[in-house]
Protein backbone atom coordinates (compact mmCIF):
# COMPACT_ATOMS: atom_id res chain seq x y z
CA UNK A 1 0.00 0.00 0.00
CA UNK A 2 1.56 3.25 -1.17
CA UNK A 3 0.77 6.68 0.24
CA UNK A 4 -1.50 7.29 -2.73
CA UNK A 5 -3.36 4.09 -1.88
CA UNK A 6 -3.97 5.19 1.70
CA UNK A 7 -5.16 8.54 0.38
CA UNK A 8 -7.51 6.69 -1.93
CA UNK A 9 -8.93 4.64 0.95
CA UNK A 10 -9.30 7.80 3.05
CA UNK A 11 -11.07 9.62 0.23
CA UNK A 12 -13.45 6.69 -0.34
CA UNK A 13 -14.32 6.51 3.37
CA UNK A 14 -14.84 10.31 3.50
CA UNK A 15 -17.11 10.19 0.44
CA UNK A 16 -19.15 7.32 1.89
CA UNK A 17 -19.58 9.25 5.15
CA UNK A 18 -20.52 12.45 3.27
CA UNK A 19 -23.10 10.52 1.30
CA UNK A 20 -24.54 9.28 4.63
CA UNK A 21 -25.04 12.90 5.70
CA UNK A 22 -26.92 13.47 2.45
CA UNK A 23 -28.97 10.30 2.91
CA UNK A 24 -29.94 10.55 6.60
CA UNK A 25 -32.26 13.58 6.76
CA UNK A 26 -34.38 12.81 3.69
CA UNK A 27 -34.05 9.06 4.32
CA UNK A 28 -35.38 9.28 7.88
CA UNK A 29 -38.21 11.55 6.81
CA UNK A 30 -39.14 9.30 3.90
CA UNK A 31 -38.93 6.13 5.98
CA UNK A 32 -41.13 7.63 8.69
CA UNK A 33 -43.57 8.89 6.09
CA UNK A 34 -43.83 5.46 4.49
CA UNK A 35 -44.10 3.65 7.83
CA UNK A 36 -46.64 5.89 9.54
CA UNK A 37 -48.79 7.61 6.91
CA UNK A 38 -51.08 6.61 4.13
CA UNK A 39 -51.48 8.96 1.26
CA UNK A 40 -52.44 8.93 -2.40
CA UNK A 41 -49.52 8.00 -4.59
CA UNK A 42 -47.66 6.22 -1.78
CA UNK A 43 -47.12 3.18 -4.01
CA UNK A 44 -45.53 5.42 -6.65
CA UNK A 45 -43.08 6.91 -4.16
CA UNK A 46 -42.27 3.43 -2.82
CA UNK A 47 -41.45 2.29 -6.34
CA UNK A 48 -39.34 5.35 -7.13
CA UNK A 49 -37.34 4.92 -3.93
CA UNK A 50 -36.62 1.27 -4.66
CA UNK A 51 -35.85 1.83 -8.33
CA UNK A 52 -32.09 2.59 -7.97
CA UNK A 53 -31.78 -0.79 -6.26
CA UNK A 54 -32.88 -2.70 -9.37
CA UNK A 55 -31.90 -0.37 -12.21
CA UNK A 56 -28.41 -0.82 -13.62
CA UNK A 57 -26.33 1.67 -11.58
CA UNK A 58 -25.09 3.11 -14.86
CA UNK A 59 -28.66 4.16 -15.66
CA UNK A 60 -28.99 5.95 -12.31
CA UNK A 61 -25.68 7.63 -13.10
CA UNK A 62 -26.96 8.67 -16.51
CA UNK A 63 -30.07 10.22 -14.96
CA UNK A 64 -27.92 12.10 -12.41
CA UNK A 65 -25.64 13.26 -15.21
CA UNK A 66 -28.63 14.65 -17.11
CA UNK A 67 -30.05 16.38 -14.01
CA UNK A 68 -26.80 17.80 -12.65
CA UNK A 69 -24.90 18.44 -15.89
CA UNK A 70 -24.29 22.09 -16.74
CA UNK A 71 -27.25 22.07 -19.12
CA UNK A 72 -29.41 19.89 -16.83
CA UNK A 73 -32.26 21.51 -14.87
CA UNK A 74 -30.58 21.22 -11.45
CA UNK A 75 -27.01 21.64 -12.68
CA UNK A 76 -27.67 24.86 -14.61
CA UNK A 77 -29.49 26.34 -11.63
CA UNK A 78 -26.60 25.48 -9.28
CA UNK A 79 -24.14 26.91 -11.77
CA UNK A 80 -26.01 30.21 -12.17
CA UNK A 81 -26.91 30.63 -8.50
CA UNK A 82 -23.78 29.42 -6.71
CA UNK A 83 -21.30 29.13 -9.56
CA UNK A 84 -21.05 25.52 -8.50
CA UNK A 85 -20.29 22.64 -10.84
CA UNK A 86 -21.23 19.19 -9.61
CA UNK A 87 -20.39 16.81 -12.41
CA UNK A 88 -16.84 15.35 -12.32
CA UNK A 89 -16.13 16.82 -8.87
CA UNK A 90 -16.18 15.16 -5.44
CA UNK A 91 -19.75 16.51 -5.10
CA UNK A 92 -20.75 14.19 -7.91
CA UNK A 93 -19.12 11.27 -6.07
CA UNK A 94 -21.07 11.98 -2.86
CA UNK A 95 -24.25 12.49 -4.88
CA UNK A 96 -23.90 9.20 -6.77
CA UNK A 97 -23.15 7.28 -3.57
CA UNK A 98 -26.14 8.91 -1.83
CA UNK A 99 -28.52 8.10 -4.67
CA UNK A 100 -27.40 4.47 -4.66
CA UNK A 101 -27.52 3.93 -0.89
CA UNK A 102 -30.73 5.83 -0.13
CA UNK A 103 -33.03 2.91 -1.09
CA UNK A 104 -31.23 0.50 1.23
CA UNK A 105 -31.37 2.95 4.10
CA UNK A 106 -35.03 3.82 3.59
CA UNK A 107 -36.06 0.16 3.46
CA UNK A 108 -34.20 -0.68 6.67
CA UNK A 109 -35.36 2.42 8.56
CA UNK A 110 -38.93 1.97 7.43
CA UNK A 111 -39.01 -1.58 8.78
CA UNK A 112 -37.46 -0.34 12.02
CA UNK A 113 -40.14 2.36 12.40
CA UNK A 114 -42.92 -0.08 11.58
CA UNK A 115 -41.72 -2.33 14.40
CA UNK A 116 -42.20 0.45 16.94
CA UNK A 117 -45.63 -0.03 18.53
CA UNK A 118 -47.74 3.08 17.92
CA UNK A 119 -49.11 2.77 21.45
CA UNK A 120 -45.94 4.40 22.79
CA UNK A 121 -46.32 7.32 20.39
CA UNK A 122 -50.00 7.70 21.24
CA UNK A 123 -49.22 7.70 24.94
CA UNK A 124 -46.54 10.34 24.45
CA UNK A 125 -49.14 12.52 22.72
CA UNK A 126 -51.53 12.22 25.66
CA UNK A 127 -48.62 13.49 27.77
CA UNK A 128 -48.50 16.67 25.71
CA UNK A 129 -45.71 15.79 23.27
CA UNK A 130 -45.84 17.24 19.75
CA UNK A 131 -44.93 15.24 16.65
CA UNK A 132 -41.25 16.27 16.59
CA UNK A 133 -40.79 15.41 20.24
CA UNK A 134 -42.57 12.07 19.74
CA UNK A 135 -40.24 11.26 16.85
CA UNK A 136 -36.98 12.19 18.55
CA UNK A 137 -37.76 10.89 22.06
CA UNK A 138 -39.89 7.81 21.31
CA UNK A 139 -39.92 6.58 17.70
CA UNK A 140 -36.27 7.11 16.81
CA UNK A 141 -34.75 5.76 20.07
CA UNK A 142 -36.98 2.67 19.90
CA UNK A 143 -36.06 2.12 16.24
CA UNK A 144 -32.39 2.96 16.81
CA UNK A 145 -30.95 -0.51 16.26
CA UNK A 146 -32.70 -0.92 12.93
CA UNK A 147 -31.81 2.60 11.84
CA UNK A 148 -28.15 2.06 12.73
CA UNK A 149 -28.14 -1.24 10.86
CA UNK A 150 -29.60 0.54 7.84
CA UNK A 151 -26.96 3.26 8.14
CA UNK A 152 -24.18 0.69 8.09
CA UNK A 153 -25.71 -1.09 5.12
CA UNK A 154 -25.97 2.21 3.26
CA UNK A 155 -22.35 2.96 4.17
CA UNK A 156 -21.17 -0.40 2.87
CA UNK A 157 -23.20 0.06 -0.30
CA UNK A 158 -21.69 3.52 -0.83
CA UNK A 159 -18.15 2.14 -0.48
CA UNK A 160 -18.81 -0.44 -3.19
CA UNK A 161 -20.60 1.87 -5.63
CA UNK A 162 -19.10 1.83 -9.15
CA UNK A 163 -21.53 2.30 -12.04
CA UNK A 164 -23.23 5.56 -11.05
CA UNK A 165 -19.95 7.06 -9.79
CA UNK A 166 -18.09 6.49 -13.04
CA UNK A 167 -20.95 8.12 -15.00
CA UNK A 168 -21.22 11.39 -13.03
CA UNK A 169 -17.79 11.68 -11.43
CA UNK A 170 -15.53 9.87 -13.84
CA UNK A 171 -12.08 8.69 -12.86
CA UNK A 172 -9.89 11.65 -11.97
CA UNK A 173 -7.12 10.27 -9.72
CA UNK A 174 -6.85 12.20 -6.46
CA UNK A 175 -10.12 14.05 -7.15
CA UNK A 176 -12.96 11.69 -7.94
CA UNK A 177 -11.48 8.20 -7.99
CA UNK A 178 -12.94 5.86 -5.39
CA UNK A 179 -11.79 2.35 -4.42
CA UNK A 180 -13.96 0.39 -6.88
CA UNK A 181 -13.10 2.74 -9.74
CA UNK A 182 -9.40 2.46 -8.88
CA UNK A 183 -9.64 -1.35 -8.86
CA UNK A 184 -11.24 -1.30 -12.32
CA UNK A 185 -8.58 1.10 -13.60
CA UNK A 186 -5.78 -1.03 -12.14
CA UNK A 187 -7.05 -4.12 -13.92
CA UNK A 188 -7.37 -2.13 -17.14
CA UNK A 189 -3.73 -1.11 -16.79
CA UNK A 190 -2.66 -4.69 -16.10
CA UNK A 191 -1.69 -3.92 -12.46
CA UNK A 192 -3.35 -7.06 -11.10
CA UNK A 193 -1.45 -7.17 -7.81
CA UNK A 194 -2.44 -3.59 -7.07
CA UNK A 195 -6.02 -4.40 -7.91
CA UNK A 196 -5.98 -7.34 -5.48
CA UNK A 197 -4.56 -5.22 -2.68
CA UNK A 198 -7.31 -2.66 -3.07
CA UNK A 199 -9.91 -5.41 -3.37
CA UNK A 200 -8.69 -6.84 -0.08
CA UNK A 201 -9.05 -3.47 1.66
CA UNK A 202 -12.59 -3.13 0.26
CA UNK A 203 -13.51 -6.60 1.46
CA UNK A 204 -12.27 -5.92 5.00
CA UNK A 205 -14.24 -2.67 5.31
CA UNK A 206 -17.39 -4.20 3.80
CA UNK A 207 -17.11 -7.26 6.04
CA UNK A 208 -16.85 -5.12 9.17
CA UNK A 209 -19.85 -2.96 8.19
CA UNK A 210 -22.12 -5.87 7.32
CA UNK A 211 -21.02 -7.85 10.39
CA UNK A 212 -21.96 -5.03 12.76
CA UNK A 213 -25.17 -4.37 10.83
CA UNK A 214 -26.23 -8.02 11.16
CA UNK A 215 -25.43 -7.96 14.86
CA UNK A 216 -27.61 -4.90 15.33
CA UNK A 217 -30.53 -6.36 13.42
CA UNK A 218 -30.59 -9.60 15.40
CA UNK A 219 -32.10 -8.21 18.57
CA UNK A 220 -31.05 -9.71 21.83
CA UNK A 221 -33.84 -10.31 24.42
Amino acid sequence: MSGADWQLVGFSLRMALTSLLLVLPPGLALAWWLARKDWRGKALVETLVTLPLVLPPVVTGLVLLQLFGQRGPVGSWLHQTFGMDVVFTWWAVALALAAMSLPLFVRAARTAFEEVDVKFEQLARTLGAGEWRVFFTITLPLAMRGVLAGTLLAFARALGEFGATIMVAGNIPGRTTTLPVAIYAAVQNGEDAHAWTLAGVSAVIAFAAVFVSEKLQRRPR
Partner: protein
Protein backbone atom coordinates in the same frame (compact mmCIF):
# COMPACT_ATOMS: atom_id res chain seq x y z
CA UNK B 1 -75.54 11.13 38.82
CA UNK B 2 -74.02 14.44 39.87
CA UNK B 3 -73.55 17.33 37.48
CA UNK B 4 -71.74 16.05 34.43
CA UNK B 5 -68.35 17.59 33.64
CA UNK B 6 -67.96 15.52 30.50
CA UNK B 7 -70.72 14.79 28.06
CA UNK B 8 -70.22 12.62 25.02
CA UNK B 9 -72.43 11.61 22.14
CA UNK B 10 -70.58 9.95 19.33
CA UNK B 11 -70.25 7.09 16.90
CA UNK B 12 -67.01 5.44 15.89
CA UNK B 13 -67.33 3.14 12.90
CA UNK B 14 -64.44 0.78 12.20
CA UNK B 15 -64.17 -0.09 8.52
CA UNK B 16 -65.71 -3.52 8.14
CA UNK B 17 -65.99 -3.75 11.92
CA UNK B 18 -68.39 -2.88 14.68
CA UNK B 19 -69.88 0.54 15.31
CA UNK B 20 -69.27 1.89 18.79
CA UNK B 21 -71.87 4.30 20.08
CA UNK B 22 -71.65 6.52 23.13
CA UNK B 23 -75.12 7.87 23.61
CA UNK B 24 -75.58 10.71 26.07
CA UNK B 25 -72.64 9.50 28.13
CA UNK B 26 -72.36 11.79 31.15
CA UNK B 27 -69.37 11.67 33.45
CA UNK B 28 -69.43 13.38 36.84
CA UNK B 29 -66.67 13.85 39.39
CA UNK B 30 -65.42 10.84 41.31
CA UNK B 31 -64.84 7.49 39.68
CA UNK B 32 -67.02 6.38 36.80
CA UNK B 33 -66.75 2.77 35.69
CA UNK B 34 -67.30 1.85 32.05
CA UNK B 35 -68.50 -1.66 32.52
CA UNK B 36 -69.15 -4.38 29.98
CA UNK B 37 -68.02 -7.68 28.55
CA UNK B 38 -65.00 -7.77 26.25
CA UNK B 39 -65.90 -6.53 22.80
CA UNK B 40 -68.55 -4.19 24.16
CA UNK B 41 -66.62 -1.11 23.07
CA UNK B 42 -65.28 0.05 26.44
CA UNK B 43 -61.70 0.57 25.30
CA UNK B 44 -62.78 2.33 22.10
CA UNK B 45 -64.88 4.81 24.06
CA UNK B 46 -61.94 5.46 26.38
CA UNK B 47 -59.60 6.01 23.42
CA UNK B 48 -62.11 8.40 21.84
CA UNK B 49 -62.20 10.40 25.08
CA UNK B 50 -58.38 10.48 25.14
CA UNK B 51 -58.36 11.70 21.54
CA UNK B 52 -56.56 8.62 20.21
CA UNK B 53 -59.54 7.70 18.06
CA UNK B 54 -61.54 10.19 16.12
CA UNK B 55 -65.27 9.41 15.96
CA UNK B 56 -66.94 10.07 12.62
CA UNK B 57 -70.03 11.57 14.19
CA UNK B 58 -70.99 13.36 17.35
CA UNK B 59 -69.43 15.53 20.01
CA UNK B 60 -67.45 15.46 23.24
CA UNK B 61 -67.53 18.36 25.66
CA UNK B 62 -65.44 18.71 28.77
CA UNK B 63 -66.58 21.61 30.93
CA UNK B 64 -66.54 24.59 28.59
CA UNK B 65 -64.05 22.90 26.24
CA UNK B 66 -65.05 21.44 22.93
CA UNK B 67 -63.02 18.27 22.38
CA UNK B 68 -64.92 17.00 19.39
CA UNK B 69 -67.62 18.33 17.17
CA UNK B 70 -67.81 16.24 14.03
CA UNK B 71 -70.39 18.52 12.40
CA UNK B 72 -68.06 21.53 12.84
CA UNK B 73 -65.11 19.32 11.87
CA UNK B 74 -63.37 20.35 15.08
CA UNK B 75 -61.15 17.94 16.96
CA UNK B 76 -58.85 18.70 19.87
CA UNK B 77 -55.65 16.66 19.60
CA UNK B 78 -54.76 14.37 22.52
CA UNK B 79 -51.78 16.52 23.48
CA UNK B 80 -54.06 19.47 24.23
CA UNK B 81 -56.72 17.60 26.20
CA UNK B 82 -54.81 17.37 29.46
CA UNK B 83 -55.95 13.82 30.06
CA UNK B 84 -54.00 11.19 31.97
CA UNK B 85 -54.23 7.87 30.13
CA UNK B 86 -53.24 4.49 31.55
CA UNK B 87 -53.69 1.77 28.91
CA UNK B 88 -54.29 -1.87 29.73
CA UNK B 89 -50.65 -2.90 29.20
CA UNK B 90 -49.39 0.43 30.67
CA UNK B 91 -47.24 1.16 27.57
CA UNK B 92 -44.34 2.30 29.73
CA UNK B 93 -41.59 3.68 27.50
CA UNK B 94 -39.18 0.73 27.51
CA UNK B 95 -36.07 2.83 26.83
CA UNK B 96 -36.68 5.33 29.64
CA UNK B 97 -36.14 4.87 33.37
CA UNK B 98 -38.95 5.18 35.88
CA UNK B 99 -38.02 8.82 36.44
CA UNK B 100 -37.84 9.37 32.67
CA UNK B 101 -41.29 7.89 32.21
CA UNK B 102 -42.88 9.83 35.04
CA UNK B 103 -41.23 13.10 33.99
CA UNK B 104 -42.07 12.74 30.30
CA UNK B 105 -45.24 14.82 30.51
CA UNK B 106 -43.62 17.59 32.56
CA UNK B 107 -41.74 19.34 29.79
CA UNK B 108 -43.39 22.70 30.52
CA UNK B 109 -41.93 22.72 34.03
CA UNK B 110 -38.39 24.03 34.63
CA UNK B 111 -35.87 21.24 35.25
CA UNK B 112 -35.81 21.67 39.04
CA UNK B 113 -39.59 21.77 39.29
CA UNK B 114 -39.76 18.69 37.11
CA UNK B 115 -37.37 16.70 39.31
CA UNK B 116 -39.27 17.77 42.42
CA UNK B 117 -42.61 16.76 40.90
CA UNK B 118 -41.23 13.38 39.83
CA UNK B 119 -39.82 12.72 43.29
CA UNK B 120 -43.05 13.81 44.96
CA UNK B 121 -45.18 11.61 42.71
CA UNK B 122 -42.93 8.58 43.18
CA UNK B 123 -42.94 9.03 46.95
CA UNK B 124 -46.70 9.33 47.00
CA UNK B 125 -47.02 6.02 45.13
CA UNK B 126 -44.36 4.29 47.21
CA UNK B 127 -41.97 4.03 44.29
CA UNK B 128 -38.99 5.88 45.78
CA UNK B 129 -35.72 4.14 45.14
CA UNK B 130 -36.86 2.84 41.75
CA UNK B 131 -36.06 6.07 39.84
CA UNK B 132 -33.28 4.54 37.78
CA UNK B 133 -34.89 1.21 36.99
CA UNK B 134 -36.09 0.37 33.50
CA UNK B 135 -39.70 -0.78 33.14
CA UNK B 136 -38.68 -4.37 32.42
CA UNK B 137 -36.93 -4.50 35.80
CA UNK B 138 -40.18 -3.84 37.68
CA UNK B 139 -42.90 -6.15 38.98
CA UNK B 140 -46.38 -5.95 37.47
CA UNK B 141 -47.74 -3.98 40.40
CA UNK B 142 -44.83 -1.55 40.25
CA UNK B 143 -45.35 -1.08 36.52
CA UNK B 144 -49.00 -0.28 37.16
CA UNK B 145 -48.06 2.37 39.70
CA UNK B 146 -45.41 3.88 37.41
CA UNK B 147 -48.02 4.14 34.66
CA UNK B 148 -50.37 5.82 37.11
CA UNK B 149 -47.56 8.12 38.29
CA UNK B 150 -46.75 9.13 34.72
CA UNK B 151 -50.42 9.90 34.05
CA UNK B 152 -51.04 11.93 37.22
CA UNK B 153 -47.67 13.73 37.49
CA UNK B 154 -48.82 16.46 35.14
CA UNK B 155 -52.07 16.94 37.09
CA UNK B 156 -54.54 15.96 34.37
CA UNK B 157 -58.10 17.23 34.27
CA UNK B 158 -59.37 13.73 33.70
CA UNK B 159 -57.87 10.33 34.35
CA UNK B 160 -58.59 7.38 32.05
CA UNK B 161 -57.73 3.86 33.22
CA UNK B 162 -58.19 0.89 30.89
CA UNK B 163 -58.55 -2.40 32.79
CA UNK B 164 -55.92 -1.34 35.35
CA UNK B 165 -55.66 -4.84 36.80
CA UNK B 166 -55.78 -6.93 33.63
CA UNK B 167 -52.01 -7.44 33.52
CA UNK B 168 -51.79 -8.59 37.14
CA UNK B 169 -52.23 -11.97 38.80
CA UNK B 170 -55.17 -12.48 41.16
CA UNK B 171 -53.49 -11.88 44.55
CA UNK B 172 -51.89 -8.65 43.32
CA UNK B 173 -55.19 -7.63 41.78
CA UNK B 174 -57.12 -7.97 45.04
CA UNK B 175 -54.43 -6.19 47.06
CA UNK B 176 -54.05 -3.31 44.61
CA UNK B 177 -57.77 -2.80 44.11
CA UNK B 178 -58.24 -1.30 47.56
CA UNK B 179 -55.01 0.61 47.21
CA UNK B 180 -56.04 2.14 43.89
CA UNK B 181 -59.38 3.28 45.24
CA UNK B 182 -57.61 5.09 48.06
CA UNK B 183 -55.12 6.70 45.70
CA UNK B 184 -57.86 7.86 43.35
CA UNK B 185 -59.81 9.27 46.32
CA UNK B 186 -56.75 11.23 47.46
CA UNK B 187 -56.20 12.57 43.94
CA UNK B 188 -59.72 13.84 43.52
CA UNK B 189 -59.30 13.88 39.73
CA UNK B 190 -62.41 12.80 37.84
CA UNK B 191 -61.63 9.27 36.71
CA UNK B 192 -63.06 6.94 34.13
CA UNK B 193 -62.12 3.31 34.64
CA UNK B 194 -62.84 0.51 32.21
CA UNK B 195 -63.45 -2.99 33.52
CA UNK B 196 -65.26 -6.22 32.74
CA UNK B 197 -65.07 -7.37 36.37
CA UNK B 198 -68.21 -6.54 38.35
CA UNK B 199 -66.36 -6.77 41.65
CA UNK B 200 -63.92 -4.16 40.43
CA UNK B 201 -66.84 -2.04 39.32
CA UNK B 202 -68.50 -2.41 42.73
CA UNK B 203 -65.26 -1.83 44.62
CA UNK B 204 -63.98 1.15 42.68
CA UNK B 205 -66.86 2.95 41.05
CA UNK B 206 -69.08 5.78 42.26
CA UNK B 207 -70.99 5.76 39.01
CA UNK B 208 -71.20 3.15 36.32
CA UNK B 209 -72.09 3.13 32.64
CA UNK B 210 -72.96 -0.33 31.35
CA UNK B 211 -71.94 -1.05 27.77
CA UNK B 212 -73.53 -3.71 25.65
CA UNK B 213 -72.97 -4.46 21.97
CA UNK B 214 -71.06 -1.23 21.39
CA UNK B 215 -73.52 1.07 23.12
CA UNK B 216 -74.02 2.40 26.63
CA UNK B 217 -77.31 1.00 27.85
CA UNK B 218 -77.59 2.21 31.42
CA UNK B 219 -75.75 4.63 33.65
CA UNK B 220 -76.10 5.85 37.20
CA UNK B 221 -74.78 5.33 40.69
CA UNK B 222 -73.15 1.89 41.06
CA UNK B 223 -75.58 0.42 43.64
CA UNK B 224 -78.51 1.78 41.67
CA UNK B 225 -77.44 0.18 38.38
CA UNK B 226 -76.34 -3.09 39.94
CA UNK B 227 -79.50 -3.57 41.93
CA UNK B 228 -81.85 -2.14 39.33
CA UNK B 229 -80.73 -3.21 35.86
CA UNK B 230 -83.09 -1.68 33.29
CA UNK B 231 -83.25 -4.73 31.08
CA UNK B 232 -82.17 -8.32 30.75
CA UNK B 233 -79.00 -7.42 28.89
CA UNK B 234 -77.80 -5.20 31.74
CA UNK B 235 -78.80 -7.82 34.31
CA UNK B 236 -76.76 -10.41 32.46
CA UNK B 237 -73.73 -8.13 32.06
CA UNK B 238 -73.80 -7.06 35.68
CA UNK B 239 -73.83 -10.83 36.24
CA UNK B 240 -76.76 -11.13 38.59
CA UNK B 241 -76.44 -14.84 39.31
CA UNK B 242 -80.10 -15.70 39.50
CA UNK B 243 -82.29 -14.49 36.68
CA UNK B 244 -85.55 -16.43 36.45
CA UNK B 245 -88.83 -15.68 34.77
CA UNK B 246 -91.88 -15.50 37.04
CA UNK B 247 -95.49 -14.33 37.09
CA UNK B 248 -96.84 -11.52 39.22
CA UNK B 249 -99.79 -12.86 41.19
CA UNK B 250 -100.77 -9.66 42.93
CA UNK B 251 -99.47 -6.22 43.77
CA UNK B 252 -100.51 -4.58 47.02
CA UNK B 253 -99.07 -1.73 49.08
CA UNK B 254 -96.03 -1.51 46.85
CA UNK B 255 -95.23 -5.20 47.28
CA UNK B 256 -95.52 -7.71 44.49
CA UNK B 257 -96.09 -11.41 45.02
CA UNK B 258 -94.30 -13.38 42.34
CA UNK B 259 -94.70 -17.05 41.47
CA UNK B 260 -91.47 -18.77 40.56
CA UNK B 261 -92.39 -22.34 39.87
CA UNK B 262 -93.92 -23.54 43.14
CA UNK B 263 -92.18 -20.86 45.18
CA UNK B 264 -93.72 -17.53 46.11
CA UNK B 265 -91.55 -14.47 46.55
CA UNK B 266 -92.37 -11.03 47.85
CA UNK B 267 -90.55 -8.18 46.12
CA UNK B 268 -90.85 -4.43 45.94
CA UNK B 269 -93.11 -3.51 43.06
CA UNK B 270 -91.18 -0.26 42.67
CA UNK B 271 -91.66 1.27 39.30
CA UNK B 272 -93.11 -1.81 37.61
CA UNK B 273 -95.79 -0.87 35.12
CA UNK B 274 -99.18 -1.80 36.62
CA UNK B 275 -99.96 -4.10 33.70
CA UNK B 276 -96.78 -6.14 34.11
CA UNK B 277 -97.45 -9.85 34.58
CA UNK B 278 -94.40 -11.63 33.24
CA UNK B 279 -91.17 -10.56 34.90
CA UNK B 280 -87.54 -11.53 35.27
CA UNK B 281 -86.68 -12.06 38.90
CA UNK B 282 -83.08 -11.02 39.66
CA UNK B 283 -81.33 -12.03 42.86
CA UNK B 284 -77.67 -11.36 43.50
CA UNK B 285 -75.79 -14.22 45.11
CA UNK B 286 -74.38 -11.95 47.83
CA UNK B 287 -77.92 -11.12 48.94
CA UNK B 288 -78.90 -14.72 49.70
CA UNK B 289 -78.58 -15.69 53.36
CA UNK B 290 -78.35 -19.37 54.25
CA UNK B 291 -79.40 -20.85 57.60
CA UNK B 292 -79.58 -24.34 59.07
CA UNK B 293 -83.11 -24.16 60.49
CA UNK B 294 -86.13 -21.88 60.23
CA UNK B 295 -85.42 -18.81 62.32
CA UNK B 296 -88.13 -18.04 64.82
CA UNK B 297 -88.25 -14.47 63.78
CA UNK B 298 -86.58 -12.71 60.92
CA UNK B 299 -87.26 -9.66 58.83
CA UNK B 300 -86.73 -11.27 55.42
CA UNK B 301 -90.11 -11.92 53.87
CA UNK B 302 -88.83 -14.73 51.77
CA UNK B 303 -87.92 -17.99 53.45
CA UNK B 304 -87.27 -20.78 51.03
CA UNK B 305 -86.62 -24.42 51.66
CA UNK B 306 -83.45 -25.10 49.74
CA UNK B 307 -81.45 -28.16 48.79
CA UNK B 308 -77.73 -27.76 48.07
CA UNK B 309 -76.95 -28.96 44.55
CA UNK B 310 -73.27 -28.14 44.32
CA UNK B 311 -70.48 -26.02 45.76
CA UNK B 312 -67.97 -24.18 43.60
CA UNK B 313 -64.91 -22.57 45.17
CA UNK B 314 -63.98 -19.15 43.82
CA UNK B 315 -60.89 -17.96 45.64
CA UNK B 316 -61.89 -17.23 49.22
CA UNK B 317 -65.57 -17.41 48.31
CA UNK B 318 -67.83 -20.36 47.63
CA UNK B 319 -70.63 -20.29 45.12
CA UNK B 320 -73.53 -22.44 46.38
CA UNK B 321 -76.00 -23.66 43.81
CA UNK B 322 -79.39 -24.36 45.39
CA UNK B 323 -82.72 -25.81 44.41
CA UNK B 324 -85.61 -23.84 45.92
CA UNK B 325 -88.18 -24.95 43.43
CA UNK B 326 -86.14 -22.79 41.09
CA UNK B 327 -82.36 -22.55 40.76
CA UNK B 328 -80.86 -20.04 43.19
CA UNK B 329 -77.21 -19.14 43.71
CA UNK B 330 -75.66 -17.93 46.94
CA UNK B 331 -72.16 -16.63 47.61
CA UNK B 332 -70.55 -17.41 50.96
CA UNK B 333 -67.14 -17.12 52.52
CA UNK B 334 -65.19 -20.30 53.10
CA UNK B 335 -65.58 -20.18 56.95
CA UNK B 336 -69.32 -19.58 56.67
CA UNK B 337 -69.57 -22.65 54.49
CA UNK B 338 -67.76 -24.76 57.05
CA UNK B 339 -69.92 -23.42 59.88
CA UNK B 340 -73.02 -24.51 58.02
CA UNK B 341 -71.37 -27.84 57.14
CA UNK B 342 -72.48 -27.34 53.60
CA UNK B 343 -72.38 -30.24 51.21
CA UNK B 344 -74.38 -31.43 48.28
CA UNK B 345 -77.80 -32.67 49.36
CA UNK B 346 -77.94 -30.61 52.57
CA UNK B 347 -81.32 -29.15 53.47
CA UNK B 348 -81.29 -25.46 54.35
CA UNK B 349 -83.34 -22.32 54.54
CA UNK B 350 -82.52 -19.51 52.15
CA UNK B 351 -83.53 -15.99 53.10
CA UNK B 352 -83.82 -13.08 50.71
CA UNK B 353 -85.05 -9.63 51.69
CA UNK B 354 -87.82 -8.26 49.53
CA UNK B 355 -85.91 -5.09 48.56
CA UNK B 356 -83.07 -7.25 47.26
CA UNK B 357 -85.25 -8.99 44.71
CA UNK B 358 -85.32 -6.95 41.59
CA UNK B 359 -88.10 -7.37 39.04
CA UNK B 360 -87.63 -6.51 35.36
CA UNK B 361 -90.74 -6.58 33.19
CA UNK B 362 -90.57 -8.70 30.04
CA UNK B 363 -90.12 -6.66 26.95
CA UNK B 364 -91.28 -8.44 23.87
Amino acid sequence: MKDAILTANFRRQFPGGPEIIAEDLRIGGGITVLFGASGSGKTTILRCLAGLERPEKGSIHFGAENWLDAEMNSFLSPRKRGVGFVPQDYALFPHLTVAGNVGYGLKELPATGRAARVAETLRWLGLDGLEHRLPRELSGGQQQRVALARAVARRPKLLLLDEPFAALDTPARLRLRGELRQLLRQLGIPTILVTHDRFEALALGDDVAVLHAGRNVQQGAVPEVFSRPVNLAVAEITAVETIQSGQILETRDGLATVALGDARLIALAGDLPPAAREVYVCIRAEDVILMRAHPVQSSPRNRLAATVLSLVREGSLVRVNLDCGFPLTALLTQPACEELALQAGAQLVALVKAPQIHLIPFTR
